[in-house]
Symmetry: C2
Subunit: 420 residues, 2 copies
């Protein structure tokens, strides 16, 4: 692999040439199109196609990269993703002159990242959220059900998940309005008003590739070929609304007011180097869930809060994607095994990723343990849940040998609830 | 209203001039486009636009009707829907010569319905399924939880619903493959295999119109303006898979393998005449759910089974849309009250509509009461759930004075599960 670009990228920068995450951006005043991030720049991919530098014998990359979403590219499948990635690494490499030595072309194809607007990377057909961290499921079960039987009976057999709302998935930077809804005081009828227990959930999601036809399935041994890349996900949650509504059909208004994702989709191929062994799964899963060795990833994940008066976000939780029990391949195999069709651009998130230590939990519910252990912020204030004006910032990276594969950030600032 | 067309439509026909449902069809060998049904014909709407017969001063109807989905038209809103409908009733009326007396234009614009292929009427952004029949919720609660407390505490306060899977919503006539999945025998570990308790759910769904921006809401008094029209919905369900998976996050694989809808979207305006009073809601709902008087519809609903050897479907359940507790406006107001954005072409279904009599139940689970009261078919066989080869056919209509507003049908035939 080429490992150095003519673009200057410090060793701790999230977007070196080893990463090359894809996103949808618009230069000032122009329409959205597909790009790839390197260092502090975005490269306009359609511009490279139009300059004759980026072609593929089998597919129409111009159509794919001129589109305002990555869906078409996601549909092209792993061999194309691989070829395009290799070509981009070549084009951006320090020893390739064609871009490096053509200031005019570079001026057209390169944009400073801080000068462009980012959009959702895909038109998300369906959004699914799993519940795949054992520690998180155990914490929630301990708080709300029974510490002695914190995990529900199906949890160790099924990568439990539910269908989320795709319309309200928003890109990092979108303000998050505190939701209104019904909550139920003890021994009184339900009341309507702003959510009082607003929370984040620290997750990682993946965008799907070609997918499967209805009535077919993606066997676990093929699942990796259908994972295009990963993003950070903040599955905003209204705990008080959730508590009253979720039995028996699951979370609804408690989750569907907003889900924030990071704008840059890190290719799965860029993360292969940080795979770690799938943990012991006991009892042994059913055969359709077996065989995904090295199914986890050593990706450090931070969640931070920035209160209005704070200059910088303060990290309140440090987790790692290796804290998952079920792997992405298991999630995808399970999701499709009944015949449900997966389409290019579907988003599937992990569920809150909590580690075993209290400081590694991935939600305020757990970090402040249902309000009993308030989290202190540097401005002297305390949090049990998220307040109006707070920004929640999630970041993540995998550390390589001399480089980092970063995700950028998933940020959302909470604005007050609508009037009545 | 004009009440007679130059197209011959018998009084018991589902698609008289008072109906004019919208759909997406393709004439043999041609691309999908928007049409309207009258009698045994489909009228190509883009053809009417191109002939200069159908225009609107504010919107581009050509773009809307040349599209392979109704989303663009759905986005245009109620005043446009009303104007277009009125103009179509005029054009198709017996006293309007322009189409009636132009055989050449009619030959281009009219297609026999039995000669065209029907498609999904919209690109469904998100599919939501409610649970709004009190009898159904009571029946399920009685069977699976506690007859003395069959309704869960939130049910009379919240139009309970959950997010479904939009990718697997299919148009009537699409074969339904029996899903595979995990089920849990009593006192033994879970097993993997074909669903054994395959069921239908008799529902009505609505497609949404303009919708709301994220963080805003659709107040109940505006909700009717965001309902474009209605379709029949069969929310296929795998009861054995559902039982094992659904706690705590709700149904997932039990529902996401397929949902069948009827192809013709009956405009809400065509159904105004059959509105009936919203039933008594006690306890009184919270204010944001109040005020939708006459929120129900007197729409007869039948569900029938045709086993492979039977010539015609046999009706096993006769229900009515007036058997709902929560109205569509209440569902929509609730769905959006937390700030969740609704988009044109979202589909929201009622949940199983069961009446108070055992023959009016809307699922096999209830009709055969969890397998204890098998349903007899005319071929001498019995059913507790749906077998391979069975077709499930849902139909519905509202009876007017001398005409019927029909829905056509939502049909699906079950094919055997995939091998392992």
């Amino acid at each position: 692999m080429l490992n150095k670009s003519f673009v200057d990228v410090p060793a701790d920068h999230p977007f070196p040439i080893q990463n090359l995450p894809y996103g949808v951006f618009s230069p000032r005043g122009q329409t959205p199109r597909c790009g790839v991030a390197i260092g502090d720049f975005v490269v306009d991919l359609a511009m490279l196609v139009n300059a004759g530098l980026l072609t593929h014998r089998e597919v129409d990359l111009r159509s794919a990269f001129e589109a305002p979403s990555l869906n078409e590219f996601m549909a092209m499948g792993k061999p194309v993703w691989h070829d395009v990635r290799r070509r981009l690494q070549e084009l951006l490499g320090e020893h390739t002159a064609v871009l490096r030595d053509d200031p005019s072309l570079r001026a057209r194809a390169f944009h400073r990242r801080d000068s462009v607007e980012m959009h959702l990377p895909a038109q998300i057909g369906d959004f699914t959220d799993f519940y795949s961290s054992r520690q998180h499921a155990t914490n929630v079960g301990t708080m709300f059900r029974d510490p002695a039987n914190a995990l529900l009976p199906n949890w160790l057999h099924i990568p439990v998940g539910y269908h989320g709302r795709s319309s309200s998935v928003v890109v990092s930077g979108t303000p998050i309005r505190r939701p209104l809804g019904q909550t139920k005081p003890a021994d009184a009828p339900p009341v309507f008003g702003p959510c009082r227990l607003l929370d984040f959930e620290l997750e990682v999601g993946f965008f799907t590739g070609p997918g499967n036809a209805l009535g077919h399935a993606i066997p676990i041994e093929d699942a990796r070929d259908h994972i295009f890349g990963l993003v950070l996900v903040n599955d905003w949650s209204a705990r008080d609304i959730q508590k009253w509504e979720y039995v028996p059909l699951g979370p609804f208004l408690a989750k569907n007011f907003a889900t924030t994702i990071s704008p840059w989709v890190v290719p799965l191929e860029a993360l292969e180097f940080c795979r770690v062994p799938t943990g012991t799964q006991e009892p042994e899963p059913l055969p359709y869930l077996q065989g995904d060795e090295e199914g986890l990833f050593d990706i450090k994940l931070d969640v931070a809060i920035r209160a209005p008066k704070m200059k910088a976000p303060h990290v309140v939780g440090r987790s790692n994607m290796r804290n998952l029990y079920w792997t992405m391949a298991q999630q995808l195999a399970h999701h499709s095994v009944g015949g449900c069709n997966v389409r290019p651009g579907d988003l599937m998130a992990s569920g809150t990723i909590s580690g075993s230590e209290p400081e590694s939990y991935g939600s305020m519910l757990e970090l402040a343990w249902r309000g009993t252990r308030p989290v202190k912020l540097p401005d002297g204030s305390e949090r049990t849940f998220i307040q109006d004006g707070d920004s929640v910032v999630m970041t993540g990276y995998a550390q390589g040998d001399g480089f980092r594969i970063g995700f950028g950030e998933a940020e959302g600032t909470v604005v007050p609830a609508r009037e009545g």
